[in-house]
C-alpha cells in the first residue's frame, strides 16, 4: 500500500513538474491560425494608391524597354539590353484589376453609396487596364474574369467585345463623375489630382478619344460606332469636358523616392550605352525642330568635325535595326579628349541626368489629345479643323519642352560628361510660323495622317507607355527602322504572347482563343483584330 501511495505522489509530482514548464498560451487554435501581422481590411485610399501607381508601372516608363520598342533610343550594351523585339508575355494587369475591385468593396464597406468616386474611377481603371492588355495580345477573358475561386478558368471575350465594353465603361465613368462632381464628392489617396474628380473627368474623356482613334481600322463597325461616338464627344464639350492644357494631363510627377529613370545615380551606367534612335532624332532634325536639342546631345564626332551644336545635322541616332556589334563600337568610338565619344546623339546630359525629378511623364497627355482630335477630323469622323488641333498639339509639345518664340537657350555637354563645368549653353532662335511653313511640317490634306502621326510620335517621347508603337502599328507612321538588330528574323513584332500560365492553367480557353485569332499559334508576329 505504501508502494501505491508513493507511485501516486510521484506521478502527481511529475505532472506538476510538466505543467509548470508549459508556457501559457492564451490564444485559441482558431486565433493562432490567423496572421496577426497583416490586415484583412484597409481603407479604399490605400488600395487606390497602388492602383494609381500601376497606371504608370509596367506600361512603359521613360528610358525603359518599351521606349526602345518605340524607337526613341537604343541600347548598345548587350549586357543590359538590346533592341530586339522579343516581346514576351504581356504585362499582366489582372492583379491590379482585382485590387480595383477590392478598392470598390472597401469603399462600400466604409459606407459610401453604390456610385462613388472610387467606383467611377474603377470604371476608368478597368477601361485603361483592359485596353493596355488587349492591344498587346488580342482577345482576353473579361466577362468571366476576376471572379476569384468562382471561376479559375475564365472564357475569353473577343477583342471587339472588349472594346465595346471599354467605350461603355468610359462613358459610364463620365456620367458617374458628372453626378459626383455636382454633389461635390472627392476621394483620398489620389496622388495625381488630390481627389479632384473634375480633373479626372477630363482625363477619362481624353482617354476615350485615344481609344476611339486606336479603333480607326474598325471605324465602319456598327457595334463600335466609332465615328458617331467621336462626333458626339467632339461636338459636346459640356457633356464631355476634356483636357485644356499640358498641366491638366494625367502625368506622373517624379520625386526623390520615385526617381526619374535617368538621374544622377545612373549616369555611369547608361551615359554612353543608351544612344538615341534615328526614328526619333532623324525626324526632328529633318524638320529642324528644336525639341531634338532639348532631349538630345549633338554627336561627338560631328562636333569634332567642326559642326556647331545648333546645327540640326549634328544630331543623329542609330537605326534600331542596326547590328548591335556595330552600334556598340560606334557609340564608344573615342573622339579624343574634350569630345563625347561616338557618332551618335545621347540623351541630353543637362535635362536628364541632373536631378531625381527629370521631367513629368504623360500617361494621358494634352498634346496627344490634340493630335487624336486632329486625326478624327482628318479622317472625316466629324466636321472640324484638323489643322487647328494639329497646330495646337505641336505647340503643346513645344510648350512642354519650354520652347518659346525667339531665343531659346539650349545646353549640351562638350565632353559627354554631366559635370556642370562641361555643360555649355548656346542659343537657337525659334519662330513657330517659319517652323510651320516648312513643307514637312505644314498641314495638308494629302499627307495629313502621316504628319499628324509623326508629330504625335515626337510628342510621345518617353511618355504614354507604348502609344508611339501602337500608333505606328496602326498607321505605319513614322517609318520604323528594321534590321538584324530587331532579332525576330529582322522583324518588328506585332504583339505580345499570353501569360504563360494561360497555357497550363486555362488551356482549353487559351487554345480556343489562339485558334480563333491566330490559327492556333501564340506568335508575336501575327496581326490581331484591332489592326486588321
Amino acid at each position: 500500500m505504501i508502494h501505491t501511495m508513493k507511485i501516486k505522489n510521484i506521478i502527481l509530482g511529475m505532472l506538476g513538474f510538466s505543467l509548470l514548464a508549459l508556457s501559457s498560451c492564451e490564444k485559441t487554435f482558431d486565433q493562432l491560425e490567423k496572421d496577426s501581422n497583416r490586415a484583412v481590411q484597409v481603407p479604399a485610399s490605400l488600395v487606390l494608391q497602388t492602383v494609381e501607381y500601376n497606371v504608370l508601372n509596367d506600361n512603359g516608363r521613360p528610358f525603359s524597354a518599351e521606349m526602345r520598342w518605340n524607337q526613341f533610343y537604343c541600347s548598345n550594351y548587350n549586357y543590359y539590353a538590346n533592341n530586339e523585339y522579343t516581346l514576351g508575355a504581356m504585362p499582366n494587369q489582372y492583379s491590379t484589376l482585382k485590387n480595383v475591385i477590392k478598392m470598390e468593396q472597401e469603399a462600400k464597406k466604409a459606407g459610401l453609396a453604390d456610385v462613388n468616386g472610387y467606383s467611377a474611377l474603377g470604371k476608368f481603371f478597368r477601361a485603361y487596364f483592359f485596353d493596355q492588355m488587349s492591344k498587346r495580345v488580342g482577345d482576353l477573358p473579361m466577362t468571366e474574369a476576376l471572379q476569384g475561386i468562382d471561376n479559375i478558368a475564365p472564357k475569353y471575350d473577343s477583342q471587339k467585345a472588349i472594346y465595346v465594353q471599354i467605350l461603355k465603361w468610359l462613358d459610364d465613368a463620365n456620367s458617374d463623375l458628372t453626378t459626383l462632381i455636382a454633389k461635390g464628392e472627392t476621394i483620398s489617396g489620389d496622388f495625381y489630382f488630390s481627389g479632384d474628380l473634375k480633373k479626372w473627368q477630363k482625363v477619362v474623356n481624353a482617354y476615350r478619344f485615344r481609344v476611339l482613334i486606336s479603333l480607326s481600322k474598325k471605324d465602319t463597325d456598327s457595334d463600335l460606332a466609332v465615328k458617331t461616338k467621336f462626333a458626339e464627344m467632339a461636338g459636346n464639350p459640356t457633356k464631355y469636358p476634356i483636357l485644356g492644357s499640358n498641366g491638366e494631363s494625367l502625368q506622373f510627377v517624379w520625386n526623390n523616392f520615385n526617381k526619374y529613370p535617368s538621374n544622377p545615380d545612373n549616369f555611369g551606367f547608361d551615359a554612353t550605352r543608351q544612344n538615341m534612335a534615328s526614328t526619333y532624332v532623324g525626324f526632328l532634325s529633318s524638320i529642324q525642330d528644336p525639341r531634338v536639342m532639348m532631349t538630345c546631345e549633338p554627336a561627338g564626332s560631328d562636333l569634332k568635325a567642326g559642326k556647331l551644336p545648333s546645327d540640326f545635322t549634328a544630331y543623329r541616332g542609330a537605326g534600331s535595326g542596326d547590328n548591335l556589334d556595330d552600334m556598340s563600337k560606334n557609340a564608344g568610338l573615342s573622339n579624343g579628349a574634350g569630345f563625347a565619344p561616338g557618332i551618335y546623339s545621347f540623351q541630353n546630359r543637362s535635362r536628364y541626368y541632373q536631378t531625381y525629378t527629370g521631367e513629368n511623364t504623360f500617361i494621358v497627355g494634352f498634346p496627344e489629345l490634340c493630335f487624336n482630335i486632329a486625326e478624327g477630323y482628318a479622317r472625316g469622323w466629324a466636321s472640324g479643323s484638323a489643322e487647328d488641333w494639329y497646330k495646337k498639339g505641336i505647340k503643346a509639345s513645344h510648350a512642354f519642352y519650354g520652347i518659346v518664340e525667339g531665343a531659346n537657350t539650349m545646353t549640351y555637354s562638350k565632353t559627354g560628361s554631366k559635370d556642370a563645368a562641361d555643360l555649355v549653353k548656346y542659343t537657337v532662335n525659334f519662330n513657330f510660323d517659319s517652323y510651320y511653313a516648312n513643307d514637312a511640317v505644314k498641314y495638308d490634306d494629302a499627307t495629313a495622317i502621316k504628319k499628324i502621326l509623326s508629330q504625335k510620335y515626337a510628342a510621345f517621347f518617353m511618355n504614354s507607355g507604348m502609344e508611339a508603337y501602337f500608333n505606328w502599328r496602326r498607321t505605319g507612321f513614322p517609318t520604323f527602322s528594321s534590321g538584324v538588330g530587331n532579332g525576330n528574323s529582322n522583324r518588328i513584332a506585332l504583339r505580345w504572347i499570353y501569360p504563360t500560365t494561360e497555357r497550363t492553367a486555362n488551356s482549353t480557353n487559351y487554345t480556343a482563343a489562339i485558334t480563333s485569332q491566330y490559327a492556333g499559334k501564340d506568335d508575336i508576329n501575327d496581326q490581331m483584330w484591332l489592326i486588321k
Binding site: R38, N99, I152, T272, K329, V484
Partner: protein
C-alpha cells in the same frame, strides 16, 4: 570514488575546473545496505578483459538480481547454494555456482553470432539492433572532431548513405542537406527536437549521430520528422573506470591553397570594345563607370589616363600613365590564410548515483577575407542523478553563442568581393594600392578605387562595410524517469529551445550597391527571437506478456508551444557619415516587424512485439493538433508499422554469414503550413537575406493585404494574389521501405541495404490558376510525386592482425523523383513538367538549333529562344552519391582517408557566365577566341561563330514552346558573318545553355594521420594522448575548377563563392 575526486582536486587545482569539481563533490556517496550474505564480483569480457557494465545478474529461481556497474562490478545478497545467471547482449549466457566464494570473477565469452549494437531511435529510445526495422545509420561523434569542420553537420559529408551534405565554407552559412532528396530535416538532441541552424550544435559534445533516414524512422516526431531526422546523443558521464575523466581536444588548422578559384586573363584591361580612359570613374571618361573588367585595351604599356594618373592642377587634365597589368592575381593577393582553431575541455564523472559532464568549447575561425571572423562558445552541462533505484533525474543545458563583428557577404552584387575583383574588375589596379582606402582629405567619406559608379574597393569593404552577427542559443531539458518495476517506467520531460539574434550592417558613405546608388551610407539592424517549449510524458512498458512474446510499448503526450518575434529596421541614407544610428537617418527610417505563435498538442505511441527470436513487429501512431491548419482540419493521425526478422537467429546459414536481417516498414506522415526557415527584410536591399531556422507558421493560407511604399513614400496596399482555402487538409507523405542487414565472416563485413518508395502528396500546393481570375494561385491539396531510391553502406575490416587493421566504410545512394499526379484540369507543373517527368528537370534559356543540332546565328551571334520559352537542359540530381572511408591502424599509428563525391547531373555555371561576360574569363583569350581577341581591341571584327545562318531569308517560326515549326521552309548555310569576340561572348554566355556543366565531382575530403602517444610521456594522470595531423578538402576533381560544386544540392545554377581552400592542421586529444 569520492576519494578519487578529492585526490584529483588536491593534485589538479586547475582554477578553471575548480568550481565544477566542487559541485561534483557536493554530491553524497550512498552506500547500499548490508545484507547477511553479501557477494561481490566482477564481470569481464573475454577479449580485452575489461569490465562489462550493465550485465544482468540474477539468482537462478530467486528474486534477487542486479546489474554490473560501469566497471563491471556488482554486489548482491544470495544464498550460498545458489546459482548466478549472467546475461548480456552480445555475450553468451553463463551460470556460476556461488559456493563459498564471496568475490566472484566471471569472464563472459563474446557471442560471435550475437550483435551487441544498441541504436538510438526516435524519442531517444535505445533499441537492440535486431529489433530495429527502419533505416538508421550511426556515426561516432569522435570520428568528426579531429579534422575539424566549423559546423558539426558539415562533418557528416560522405559518412551516411542517403545523406548528402553540401558543406558551406562561407562563414555562418548553413550546410545544404539532402536526406533522401529532402532538404529539411529535424535535429534532435537527446530525444528532444531543437530549433537549429546547425551552428548551435557543438561537435565536441556529441557521442553519436543517428541519422533516421525515412519517415518510418522518424514518424514519432510528427510532422517535423517528415523527412527524417538527425539524432544527436550527447556525451553523458564517463566510462572511465576511475569514475571520472577529463578530456582536452584541441585542433588548429590553417586554411590556404585554393582548390576552386576562378581563373582570369590579365592581358586586357577594363573598358568596352577596346577603349577606356578614366575621367571621374563614373561615366565622365571613356567607359570608366560600371565597366567590364576585360573588354578594354590590351596592356601594352601605352599611356592611358587612370584612376591614379596625375591631374594637372591648372588645366584639371588627367595625363596618361602606362597601361600595365598591375593587378595580376589581385584576388589571391587579397585573400589571407584562414585559421580554424577549436579547443574543448570536458570533465565528466560517473558514480553509482550520478552522471555529470561539463564541457566548454571555443571555435574561432578567421576567414580568408581580411577582417572577417567567427567565434563560437559553447557550454554544455549534463547532470543526471539517481534519487533511488526507481527515480532518476536527467538534465542537460547547452549554451551556444555565435558572434562576429564582421562576416563577408558573398551574394552576387557590389557587396561581394568576388564581384568586385573577379567578375567585373580589371587587372589595371593593384590590390596593394587599395589598402589605404580613404581619399586624402575625405577620410571617413570617400573611398579610393579605380571606379566609382558600381564597384567598391575590396579593402574598404573588408574594414568599413561591416556585417555583425550575434546569436545566443540555449537548449535545455530536464527529465524525471520513474521505474515502477522492471516492466514499466514513466518519463516526464520538458525542454526549451530558444535563441536571440542581432545582425547589424554598417554600410559606409561612398560604398555602393544595387538600389543604394546615392552612396550615402546606411545602418541596418535585424533582431529576431524564438522560444519553443516541448513538454512530454512518456510511459514505457516492456515485458514478456506471454512466454516468448515480448511487448515493448511506449505511449506519450506532448505540448509544443512556439513563439517568434522579429524586427528589421534600416535607415534611408545617413546624414552624418560614420554614425550608425537610426536617429541619423536622412529619410524616414524603414521598419518592419513580425510575430507568430503556434501550439501543437500531440499524443503518440510506439509498440514492438517480439516473438522469441523469430520476429518483431512494430507500429507507431501519432495524433497532432496543429494550430496552423484550419479548424476541423487541424487534428490528424499518422501511423507507421513494420516487421523485422533476424533470419540468422533461427535458420542455419552457411558459416560465412554471421548475421542476416530483413526488415520492412511503412509510414504515413502529415504536415501543414509551417516553414522551416524565415528571413527578415523590409524593402529591397541587395546582399544576404539571412534565413534563420524557424519551424513556425507560414500563414500561407491567409489572404490579406500587403502594404508598402508606392508614391512618394506613402503607403499603399495590395490584396494577396493567392486564394486561401478553409477546407485545406494537411500534406501527406507515405513511405514504404525494405532493408537488409547482412554481416559476413564473423561480422567482419556488414552490408546494409535499403530500398524506399516515398509517395509524397497530396501536398498543400499553391495551384497556379489563370491569373485572369484576379489571383495567380489557390491553395489546394494536390501534386503527387514518387521518390524511389536505394542506399547501400558497407562497413568492414578486411584485415585485422594483432598490430594492423584496415577498416572500410563505403556509402552509396541514389534516388529519383517523378511527378505522378498534378491536379484535375492541370496538365503541367511549373510550365513544363508533365506527369511521369522527373521533378529535377532543369529548364533554361537556350539557342535555336538547326535540325542537325548546329546553332543558328543571325548578325554573327547565336539566336536565343525567347525568355518565356525555356528549354530542357538536363537533370539536376546526380546519378549517385558516394563516400569512401578507409582507416588503417598499425600499432599506435592510424591513417584515415575519406573520399566522397557525386556523379551525374547538370548545373549552370554562373561564375563562368559572369566572368565571360565581363571579358575576364581566361577562356576569352584561349581556344576559339585566341586569334580574334587581339583584333577586338583594335576595332576589327574577326570572330566567326560556329553554326549556320538561314540563307534563304525566310523568317523562323516558333510554337508557344519555342520549337521551330517551319524547318521545311528554311535553308541553311554556314555562318560567315564576323563579329567581335566581345559581342559573341556577350551573347553566347548570356544563356543557360552556354554555361551548362556536369555536376560530377570527387573530393579527397579528409585525411587524418593519428599517433597514440605513450601516456608515460605525460605522467600518470594522462591516460590517453593522441596527436593527429589532419587535412581537409585536399584534392578536388571536377569539369571546371572555378566553382566548388560540393556546395550545391538542388540548385540549378551555381552562385558566387569565396574561393574554396584546403585546410591543414594538428589535433591534440588528451584524456586525463
Amino acid at each position: 570514488m569520492r576519494k578519487n575526486l578529492q585526490r584529483f582536486i588536491a593534485k589538479n587545482s586547475s582554477k578553471t575546473l575548480f568550481w565544477l569539481v566542487l559541485a561534483i563533490s557536493q554530491l553524497t556517496y550512498h552506500v547500499g545496505n548490508a545484507q547477511d550474505r553479501q557477494i561481490k564480483g566482477t564481470v569481464v569480457s573475454s577479449d580485452d578483459k575489461s569490465g562489462i557494465p550493465g550485465v544482468a545478474i540474477r539468482v537462478k529461481g530467486g528474486k534477487q538480481g542486479t546489474n554490473s556497474d560501469i566497471n563491471g562490478q556488482f554486489s548482491l545478497s544470495a544464498p550460498s547454494n545458489g546459482i548466478l545467471e549472467f546475461s548480456m547482449v552480445g555475450y553468451k549466457n553463463q551460470e556460476v555456482k556461488i559456493g563459498s566464494q564471496s568475490d566472484i570473477k566471471v569472464v563472459l565469452e563474446i557471442d560471435a553470432r550475437q550483435l551487441q549494437e544498441v541504436v538510438v531511435t526516435a524519442l531517444g529510445i535505445k533499441k537492440d539492433v535486431r529489433r530495429i526495422g527502419v533505416a538508421i545509420q550511426s556515426v561516432d561523434g569522435s570520428a568528426t572532431i579531429k579534422a575539424r569542420e566549423p559546423n558539426a553537420i558539415n562533418a557528416l559529408s560522405g559518412r551516411v548513405a542517403g545523406l548528402t551534405v553540401g558543406s558551406q565554407p562561407e562563414l555562418l552559412r548553413k550546410p545544404n542537406i539532402s536526406l533522401r532528396g529532402s532538404s529539411t530535416v529535424l535535429y534532435v538532441v537527446d530525444g528532444v527536437p531543437i530549433n537549429s541552424d546547425t551552428w548551435n550544435i557543438s561537435p565536441d559534445d556529441i557521442e553519436t549521430y543517428s541519422v533516421l533516414k525515412g519517415a518510418s524512422a522518424s514518424a514519432l516526431y510528427g510532422f517535423r520528422g517528415k523527412n527524417g531526422a538527425i539524432l544527436i546523443t550527447t556525451k553523458r558521464g564517463s566510462s572511465d573506470k576511475r569514475g571520472f575523466s577529463v578530456e582536452v581536444n584541441s585542433s588548429t588548422q590553417m586554411q590556404s591553397g585554393f582548390y576552386a578559384i576562378p581563373k582570369v586573363q590579365d592581358e586586357y584591361g577594363p573598358g568596352d570594345h577596346g577603349s577606356y580612359a578614366f575621367g571621374d570613374g563614373k561615366g565622365g571618361g571613356l567607359n570608366d563607370g560600371d565597366y567590364d573588367g576585360g573588354w578594354g585595351p590590351k596592356f601594352n604599356g601605352q599611356l592611358i589616363p587612370q584612376y591614379d594618373s596625375p591631374v594637372d592642377p591648372i588645366t584639371g587634365k588627367r595625363s596618361g600613365t602606362p597601361w600595365i597589368a598591375r593587378g595580376k592575381d589581385n584576388l589571391s593577393r587579397f585573400l589571407e590564410t584562414g585559421i580554424l582553431s577549436t579547443n574543448n575541455v570536458s570533465v565528466a564523472a560517473t558514480g553509482e548515483k550520478y552522471n555529470l559532464r561539463f564541457s566548454t568549447s571555443h571555435i574561432y575561425q578567421k576567414g580568408i577575407v581580411p577582417n572577417t571572423q567567427l567565434n563560437m562558445t559553447n557550454f554544455n552541462i549534463t547532470a543526471d542523478y539517481k534519487f533511488t533505484n526507481k527515480l532518476k533525474f536527467e538534465s542537460n543545458l547547452q549554451y551556444n553563442r555565435q558572434y562576429t563583428p564582421n562576416i563577408p557577404d558573398v551574394n552576387y552584387g557590389p557587396n561581394s568581393i568576388i564581384y568586385n575583383i573577379v567578375y567585373w574588375a580589371g587587372a589595371d589596379w593593384n590590390v596593394d594600392d587599395m589598402r589605404n582606402y580613404w581619399q586624402k582629405g575625405k577620410e571617413g567619406i570617400q573611398q579610393i578605387y579605380a571606379e566609382y559608379q558600381r564597384y567598391n574597393n575590396p579593402y574598404f569593404m573588408s574594414y568599413e562595410w561591416l556585417r555583425s552577427h550575434y546569436k545566443t542559443d540555449i537548449v535545455g531539458q530536464a527529465a524525471l524517469r520513474y521505474t515502477f518495476n522492471e516492466n514499466l517506467n514513466l518519463l516526464a520531460r520538458t525542454q526549451v529551445t530558444t535563441w536571440d539574434m542581432v545582425r547589424t550592417e554598417k554600410f559606409p558613405y561612398s560604398a555602393g550597391t544595387y538600389g543604394r546608388d546615392e552612396r550615402r551610407g546606411d545602418y541596418r539592424e535585424d533582431r529576431r527571437s524564438l522560444f519553443e517549449n516541448n513538454t512530454e510524458l512518456l510511459l514505457t512498458f516492456d515485458k514478456d506478456v506471454l512466454p516468448g512474446l515480448n511487448t515493448k510499448i511506449t505511449a506519450g503526450a506532448s505540448q509544443r508551444v512556439f513563439q517568434y518575434k522579429s524586427i528589421f529596421a534600416s535607415t534611408n541614407y545617413l546624414n552624418v557619415p560614420g554614425l550608425y544610428n537610426f536617429s541619423n537617418s536622412s529619410n524616414p527610417v524603414q521598419v518592419a516587424n513580425f510575430g507568430s505563435d503556434m501550439n501543437v498538442l500531440s499524443a503518440y505511441y510506439s509498440a514492438d512485439f517480439s516473438y522469441k527470436k523469430y520476429l518483431t513487429v512494430f507500429a507507431t501512431g501519432r495524433m497532432d493538433k496543429l494550430s496552423t491548419l484550419p479548424a476541423g482540419k487541424n487534428t490528424f493521425f499518422y501511423p507507421s508499422f513494420g516487421a523485422v526478422s533476424v533470419i540468422s537467429d533461427y535458420i542455419d546459414l552457411p558459416e560465412t554469414i554471421s548475421f542476416l536481417k530483413f526488415r520492412g516498414s511503412y509510414a504515413n506522415v502529415k504536415d501543414g503550413l509551417t516553414s522551416s526557415t524565415i528571413d527578415n527584410r523590409a524593402g529591397t536591399y541587395s546582399g544576404e537575406n539571412y534565413n534563420s531556422p524557424y519551424d513556425g507558421p507560414s500563414y500561407q493560407n491567409n489572404t490579406v493585404y500587403s502594404t508598402g511604399f508606392y508614391y512618394n513614400n506613402q503607403t499603399g496596399a495590395t490584396y494577396g494574389d493567392g486564394l486561401s482555402n478553409p477546407n485545406l487538409n494537411p500534406s501527406e507523405t507515405s513511405q514504404t521501405e525494405f532493408g537488409m542487414d547482412l554481416r559476413l565472416f564473423k561480422n567482419r563485413i556488414a552490408i546494409d541495404a535499403a530500398y524506399f518508395i516515398s509517395n509524397d502528396g497530396p501536398s498543400i500546393f499553391s495551384l497556379p490558376i489563370s491569373s485572369t481570375s484576379g489571383y495567380t494561385s489557390a491553395l489546394v491539396n494536390g501534386i503527387k510525386t514518387q521518390k524511389k531510391g536505394y542506399e547501400i553502406s558497407v562497413t568492414g575490416t578486411p584485415i585485422k592482425t594483432a598490430d594492423f587493421s584496415w577498416d572500410v566504410i563505403a556509402n552509396y545512394s541514389t534516388f529519383e523523383e517523378r511527378l505522378t499526379e498534378i491536379y484535375p484540369g492541370i496538365t503541367s507543373l511549373n510550365t513544363f513538367l508533365k506527369v511521369g517527368d522527373r521533378t529535377d528537370k532543369l529548364y533554361g534559356s537556350a539557342f535555336v538549333h538547326a535540325p542537325d543540332g548546329q546553332i543558328i546565328n543571325s548578325g554573327g551571334v547565336p539566336i536565343k529562344i525567347s525568355g518565356a520559352q525555356s528549354q530542357y537542359l538536363g537533370n539536376i540530381n546526380p546519378d549517385f552519391v558516394f563516400g569512401f572511408n578507409n582507416k588503417f591502424s598499425y600499432k599506435n599509428l592510424s591513417l584515415s582517408v575519406l573520399f566522397d563525391g557525386r556523379v551525374g547531373g547538370k548545373i549552370i555555371n554562373y561564375t563562368q557566365q559572369q566572368a565571360y561576360r565581363g571579358g575576364r574569363h581566361i577562356g576569352t583569350t584561349e581556344g576559339i577566341f585566341a586569334e580574334a581577341r587581339p583584333q577586338d581591341a583594335l576595332g576589327v571584327k574577326a570572330f566567326v561563330g560556329q553554326g549556320v545562318v538561314v540563307s534563304n531569308g525566310v523568317a523562323i517560326k516558333y510554337d508557344a514552346n519555342g520549337n521551330v515549326t517551319n524547318f521545311s521552309e528554311l535553308q541553311f548555310a554556314p555562318n560567315t558573318t564576323k563579329t567581335f569576340v566581345q559581342d559573341y561572348v556577350g551573347r553566347y554566355y548570356n544563356t543557360n545553355e552556354g554555361n551548362l556543366m556536369s555536376r560530377s565531382f570527387g573530393m579527397l575530403k579528409e585525411v587524418v594521420l593519428g599517433v597514440k602517444l605513450p601516456s608515460s610521456w605525460f605522467g600518470k594522470y594522462v591516460s590517453t594522448a593522441n596527436l593527429s595531423l589532419v587535412g581537409r578538402n585536399l584534392l578536388y576533381f571536377a569539369e571546371a575548377k572555378d566553382t566548388d560544386l560540393s556546395q550545391y544540392l538542388s540548385d540549378g545554377a551555381t552562385s558566387p563563392q569565396t574561393p574554396s581552400v584546403r585546410s591543414y592542421g594538428v589535433n591534440l586529444n588528451f584524456t586525463f
